[in-house]
Symmetry: C2
Subunit: 125 residues, 2 copies
DNA sequence: TCACTATCGCAACAAAGTCGCATTAGTAAG
DNA sequence: CTTACTAATGCGACTTTGTTGCGATAGTGA
Protein backbone atom coordinates (compact mmCIF):
# COMPACT_ATOMS: atom_id res chain seq x y z
CA UNK A 1 0.00 0.00 0.00
CA UNK A 2 1.26 3.37 -0.98
CA UNK A 3 1.77 6.12 1.56
CA UNK A 4 -0.13 9.35 1.18
CA UNK A 5 0.97 12.82 2.11
CA UNK A 6 -1.43 14.15 4.65
CA UNK A 7 -1.47 17.26 6.73
CA UNK A 8 -1.30 15.22 9.95
CA UNK A 9 1.67 13.27 8.75
CA UNK A 10 3.56 16.42 7.83
CA UNK A 11 2.67 18.01 11.14
CA UNK A 12 4.05 15.08 13.11
CA UNK A 13 7.16 14.99 11.00
CA UNK A 14 7.89 18.67 11.40
CA UNK A 15 7.29 18.46 15.14
CA UNK A 16 9.97 15.81 15.29
CA UNK A 17 12.22 17.59 12.83
CA UNK A 18 12.13 20.81 14.80
CA UNK A 19 13.23 19.00 17.92
CA UNK A 20 16.73 17.73 18.45
CA UNK A 21 15.36 15.26 20.95
CA UNK A 22 13.06 12.29 20.99
CA UNK A 23 9.50 12.98 22.01
CA UNK A 24 6.60 11.03 23.37
CA UNK A 25 3.22 11.08 21.70
CA UNK A 26 1.80 13.65 24.07
CA UNK A 27 4.82 15.91 23.68
CA UNK A 28 4.40 15.75 19.92
CA UNK A 29 0.70 16.46 20.21
CA UNK A 30 1.38 19.51 22.39
CA UNK A 31 3.89 20.85 19.93
CA UNK A 32 1.68 20.49 16.89
CA UNK A 33 -0.42 23.45 15.81
CA UNK A 34 -3.04 21.40 14.01
CA UNK A 35 -5.34 19.22 16.04
CA UNK A 36 -4.81 15.53 15.41
CA UNK A 37 -6.31 12.62 17.24
CA UNK A 38 -4.16 10.70 19.66
CA UNK A 39 -4.72 7.39 17.89
CA UNK A 40 -3.82 8.95 14.59
CA UNK A 41 -0.55 10.28 15.93
CA UNK A 42 0.34 6.81 17.15
CA UNK A 43 -0.56 5.35 13.79
CA UNK A 44 1.56 7.91 11.99
CA UNK A 45 4.48 7.27 14.33
CA UNK A 46 4.24 3.52 13.93
CA UNK A 47 4.09 3.95 10.17
CA UNK A 48 7.24 6.08 10.30
CA UNK A 49 8.93 3.39 12.33
CA UNK A 50 7.99 0.74 9.80
CA UNK A 51 9.35 2.90 7.04
CA UNK A 52 12.57 3.52 8.93
CA UNK A 53 12.03 7.26 9.04
CA UNK A 54 12.12 7.42 12.82
CA UNK A 55 12.97 5.02 15.59
CA UNK A 56 11.33 4.19 18.87
CA UNK A 57 12.95 4.12 22.28
CA UNK A 58 11.36 2.71 25.38
CA UNK A 59 12.51 4.79 28.31
CA UNK A 60 12.80 3.74 31.91
CA UNK A 61 9.47 5.41 32.56
CA UNK A 62 7.91 2.76 30.33
CA UNK A 63 6.86 5.27 27.71
CA UNK A 64 7.62 5.24 24.02
CA UNK A 65 9.71 8.04 22.63
CA UNK A 66 10.23 8.72 18.97
CA UNK A 67 13.17 10.31 17.28
CA UNK A 68 14.13 11.30 13.81
CA UNK A 69 17.68 10.22 14.25
CA UNK A 70 20.38 11.12 11.80
CA UNK A 71 22.17 7.94 12.68
CA UNK A 72 19.31 5.89 11.31
CA UNK A 73 20.38 6.05 7.68
CA UNK A 74 23.85 4.60 8.07
CA UNK A 75 22.58 1.55 9.87
CA UNK A 76 24.98 -1.21 9.05
CA UNK A 77 23.82 -4.27 10.89
CA UNK A 78 22.14 -2.97 14.00
CA UNK A 79 19.79 -0.06 13.65
CA UNK A 80 19.60 2.34 16.51
CA UNK A 81 22.69 1.01 18.22
CA UNK A 82 23.57 4.09 20.20
CA UNK A 83 22.87 5.15 23.74
CA UNK A 84 19.96 7.37 24.61
CA UNK A 85 19.81 9.85 27.40
CA UNK A 86 16.69 10.70 29.32
CA UNK A 87 16.76 13.90 31.30
CA UNK A 88 14.75 13.68 34.49
CA UNK A 89 14.26 17.41 34.44
CA UNK A 90 13.12 18.31 30.95
CA UNK A 91 11.53 14.94 30.24
CA UNK A 92 13.15 14.53 26.88
CA UNK A 93 15.26 11.82 25.40
CA UNK A 94 18.10 12.40 23.07
CA UNK A 95 20.37 10.21 21.01
CA UNK A 96 23.93 10.20 22.22
CA UNK A 97 26.81 9.84 19.81
CA UNK A 98 28.28 6.94 21.73
CA UNK A 99 27.73 3.48 20.31
CA UNK A 100 26.76 0.65 22.61
CA UNK A 101 29.49 -1.94 23.03
CA UNK A 102 28.84 -5.18 24.79
CA UNK A 103 30.24 -8.65 25.14
CA UNK A 104 27.81 -11.50 25.05
CA UNK A 105 27.98 -14.98 26.55
CA UNK A 106 27.99 -17.78 24.02
CA UNK A 107 24.66 -18.79 22.56
CA UNK A 108 22.98 -15.43 22.75
CA UNK A 109 21.80 -13.58 19.70
CA UNK A 110 20.91 -9.91 19.81
CA UNK A 111 18.28 -8.51 17.46
CA UNK A 112 18.01 -5.00 18.77
CA UNK A 113 18.87 -2.96 21.78
CA UNK A 114 17.30 -0.38 23.98
CA UNK A 115 19.83 1.44 26.12
CA UNK A 116 18.88 4.48 28.10
CA UNK A 117 21.02 6.50 30.48
CA UNK A 118 19.04 8.52 32.96
CA UNK A 119 20.06 11.73 34.63
CA UNK A 120 20.40 15.43 33.97
CA UNK A 121 21.27 16.74 30.54
CA UNK A 122 23.65 19.57 29.76
CA UNK A 123 20.80 22.05 29.30
CA UNK A 124 19.39 21.30 32.72
CA UNK A 125 22.57 20.93 34.73
CA UNK B 1 8.75 2.27 59.70
CA UNK B 2 9.87 -1.22 60.42
CA UNK B 3 9.38 -4.00 57.91
CA UNK B 4 7.38 -7.04 58.92
CA UNK B 5 7.83 -10.60 57.82
CA UNK B 6 4.71 -11.66 56.07
CA UNK B 7 3.78 -14.75 54.15
CA UNK B 8 3.23 -12.74 50.97
CA UNK B 9 6.60 -11.11 51.22
CA UNK B 10 8.36 -14.43 51.66
CA UNK B 11 6.41 -15.93 48.78
CA UNK B 12 7.46 -13.15 46.41
CA UNK B 13 11.03 -13.38 47.56
CA UNK B 14 11.24 -17.12 47.06
CA UNK B 15 9.64 -16.86 43.64
CA UNK B 16 12.42 -14.48 42.67
CA UNK B 17 15.09 -16.50 44.45
CA UNK B 18 14.10 -19.67 42.64
CA UNK B 19 14.47 -17.98 39.30
CA UNK B 20 17.76 -17.07 37.75
CA UNK B 21 16.00 -14.47 35.68
CA UNK B 22 14.10 -11.27 36.23
CA UNK B 23 10.34 -11.60 36.28
CA UNK B 24 7.37 -9.35 35.75
CA UNK B 25 4.62 -9.06 38.31
CA UNK B 26 2.33 -11.45 36.50
CA UNK B 27 5.09 -14.01 36.07
CA UNK B 28 5.77 -13.82 39.79
CA UNK B 29 2.09 -14.16 40.58
CA UNK B 30 1.82 -17.24 38.38
CA UNK B 31 4.80 -18.84 40.06
CA UNK B 32 3.58 -18.28 43.59
CA UNK B 33 1.59 -20.99 45.33
CA UNK B 34 -0.20 -18.67 47.73
CA UNK B 35 -2.75 -16.27 46.36
CA UNK B 36 -1.71 -12.67 46.70
CA UNK B 37 -3.37 -9.61 45.26
CA UNK B 38 -1.82 -7.90 42.28
CA UNK B 39 -1.53 -4.56 44.05
CA UNK B 40 0.10 -6.22 47.02
CA UNK B 41 2.70 -7.88 44.86
CA UNK B 42 3.57 -4.53 43.35
CA UNK B 43 3.80 -3.01 46.79
CA UNK B 44 6.09 -5.77 47.99
CA UNK B 45 8.27 -5.42 44.92
CA UNK B 46 8.54 -1.68 45.29
CA UNK B 47 9.40 -2.11 48.92
CA UNK B 48 12.16 -4.54 47.98
CA UNK B 49 13.48 -2.04 45.47
CA UNK B 50 13.54 0.69 48.11
CA UNK B 51 15.42 -1.61 50.44
CA UNK B 52 17.90 -2.55 47.73
CA UNK B 53 16.98 -6.21 47.87
CA UNK B 54 15.98 -6.37 44.23
CA UNK B 55 16.25 -4.07 41.26
CA UNK B 56 13.85 -3.06 38.57
CA UNK B 57 14.43 -3.14 34.84
CA UNK B 58 12.15 -1.56 32.27
CA UNK B 59 12.21 -3.72 29.19
CA UNK B 60 11.56 -2.67 25.64
CA UNK B 61 8.03 -4.01 26.01
CA UNK B 62 7.45 -1.23 28.49
CA UNK B 63 6.93 -3.62 31.37
CA UNK B 64 8.72 -3.69 34.70
CA UNK B 65 10.85 -6.70 35.50
CA UNK B 66 12.31 -7.45 38.88
CA UNK B 67 15.45 -9.34 39.72
CA UNK B 68 17.25 -10.43 42.80
CA UNK B 69 20.63 -9.70 41.34
CA UNK B 70 23.81 -10.88 42.94
CA UNK B 71 25.60 -7.87 41.53
CA UNK B 72 23.45 -5.59 43.61
CA UNK B 73 25.51 -5.88 46.77
CA UNK B 74 28.82 -4.77 45.37
CA UNK B 75 27.39 -1.60 43.95
CA UNK B 76 30.18 0.91 44.05
CA UNK B 77 28.82 4.08 42.58
CA UNK B 78 26.22 2.97 40.10
CA UNK B 79 23.78 0.30 41.13
CA UNK B 80 22.57 -2.05 38.48
CA UNK B 81 25.19 -1.01 35.97
CA UNK B 82 25.16 -4.16 33.88
CA UNK B 83 23.39 -5.11 30.69
CA UNK B 84 20.16 -7.03 30.70
CA UNK B 85 18.99 -9.46 28.11
CA UNK B 86 15.38 -9.97 27.15
CA UNK B 87 14.61 -13.15 25.27
CA UNK B 88 11.82 -12.71 22.77
CA UNK B 89 11.02 -16.37 23.02
CA UNK B 90 10.83 -17.21 26.71
CA UNK B 91 9.82 -13.71 27.77
CA UNK B 92 12.34 -13.48 30.55
CA UNK B 93 15.01 -11.01 31.34
CA UNK B 94 18.34 -11.86 32.79
CA UNK B 95 21.27 -9.94 34.08
CA UNK B 96 24.33 -10.25 31.93
CA UNK B 97 27.81 -10.20 33.42
CA UNK B 98 28.94 -7.42 31.13
CA UNK B 99 29.16 -3.95 32.59
CA UNK B 100 27.85 -1.03 30.61
CA UNK B 101 30.58 1.32 29.40
CA UNK B 102 29.75 4.62 27.86
CA UNK B 103 31.30 7.95 27.10
CA UNK B 104 29.27 11.02 27.82
CA UNK B 105 29.33 14.48 26.29
CA UNK B 106 30.32 17.24 28.71
CA UNK B 107 27.66 18.53 31.03
CA UNK B 108 25.67 15.35 31.35
CA UNK B 109 25.23 13.58 34.64
CA UNK B 110 24.01 10.00 34.82
CA UNK B 111 22.02 8.83 37.81
CA UNK B 112 21.08 5.38 36.68
CA UNK B 113 20.88 3.31 33.56
CA UNK B 114 18.52 0.92 31.93
CA UNK B 115 20.17 -1.10 29.20
CA UNK B 116 18.41 -4.02 27.61
CA UNK B 117 19.59 -6.19 24.77
CA UNK B 118 16.82 -7.99 22.97
CA UNK B 119 17.05 -11.26 21.13
CA UNK B 120 17.21 -14.99 21.72
CA UNK B 121 18.88 -16.41 24.79
CA UNK B 122 21.09 -19.47 24.92
CA UNK B 123 18.28 -21.68 26.21
CA UNK B 124 16.03 -20.77 23.30
CA UNK B 125 18.56 -20.66 20.48
C1' DT C 1 -14.33 14.54 -12.34
C1' DC C 2 -14.37 9.97 -10.47
C1' DA C 3 -13.15 5.82 -8.19
C1' DC C 4 -10.21 3.63 -5.03
C1' DT C 5 -8.51 3.09 -0.65
C1' DA C 6 -5.19 5.05 2.72
C1' DT C 7 -5.96 7.73 6.50
C1' DC C 8 -8.64 9.88 10.02
C1' DG C 9 -11.71 10.70 14.20
C1' DC C 10 -14.18 8.70 17.59
C1' DA C 11 -15.15 5.47 20.87
C1' DA C 12 -14.23 1.40 23.02
C1' DC C 13 -10.93 -1.50 24.82
C1' DA C 14 -6.68 -3.58 27.01
C1' DA C 15 -2.73 -3.87 29.89
C1' DA C 16 0.17 -2.24 33.52
C1' DG C 17 0.50 0.20 37.59
C1' DT C 18 -1.05 3.03 41.46
C1' DC C 19 -3.90 4.63 45.29
C1' DG C 20 -7.53 5.14 49.01
C1' DC C 21 -9.63 2.85 52.53
C1' DA C 22 -11.38 -0.43 55.58
C1' DT C 23 -9.69 -4.84 57.39
C1' DT C 24 -6.15 -8.10 58.82
C1' DA C 25 -2.27 -9.58 61.12
C1' DG C 26 2.89 -9.06 62.67
C1' DT C 27 5.30 -7.32 66.72
C1' DA C 28 6.56 -5.87 70.96
C1' DA C 29 5.24 -4.27 75.44
C1' DG C 30 2.74 -5.23 79.66
C1' DC D 1 -1.22 -14.65 77.15
C1' DT D 2 -3.36 -10.13 76.20
C1' DT D 3 -3.42 -5.86 74.28
C1' DA D 4 -2.29 -1.96 71.50
C1' DC D 5 -0.04 -0.16 67.62
C1' DT D 6 0.46 0.13 62.87
C1' DA D 7 2.56 -2.25 58.73
C1' DA D 8 0.67 -4.87 55.32
C1' DT D 9 -3.23 -6.69 52.73
C1' DG D 10 -7.43 -7.10 49.65
C1' DC D 11 -10.60 -4.89 47.06
C1' DG D 12 -12.14 -1.67 43.96
C1' DA D 13 -11.61 2.37 41.51
C1' DC D 14 -8.74 4.95 38.75
C1' DT D 15 -4.87 6.67 35.57
C1' DT D 16 -1.93 6.37 31.83
C1' DT D 17 -0.34 4.61 27.64
C1' DG D 18 -1.19 2.43 23.66
C1' DT D 19 -4.14 -0.29 20.28
C1' DT D 20 -8.17 -1.52 17.44
C1' DG D 21 -12.79 -1.52 14.92
C1' DC D 22 -15.54 1.08 12.08
C1' DG D 23 -17.78 4.44 9.47
C1' DA D 24 -16.46 8.92 7.44
C1' DT D 25 -13.00 11.74 5.03
C1' DA D 26 -9.69 12.98 1.79
C1' DG D 27 -5.25 12.02 -1.09
C1' DT D 28 -4.02 10.20 -5.66
C1' DG D 29 -3.90 8.60 -10.17
C1' DA D 30 -6.73 7.65 -14.19
Amino acid sequence: MKRRNTQSKEAVLSALANSSKAMSQDAIEKKMTVNVDRATIYRILNRFCDDGVIHKIIADDGKQYFALCVKCDDSEKMPDNHFHFRCINCQTIECLPSIVNFSLPAGYQVDRLNCVLVGTCKDCA
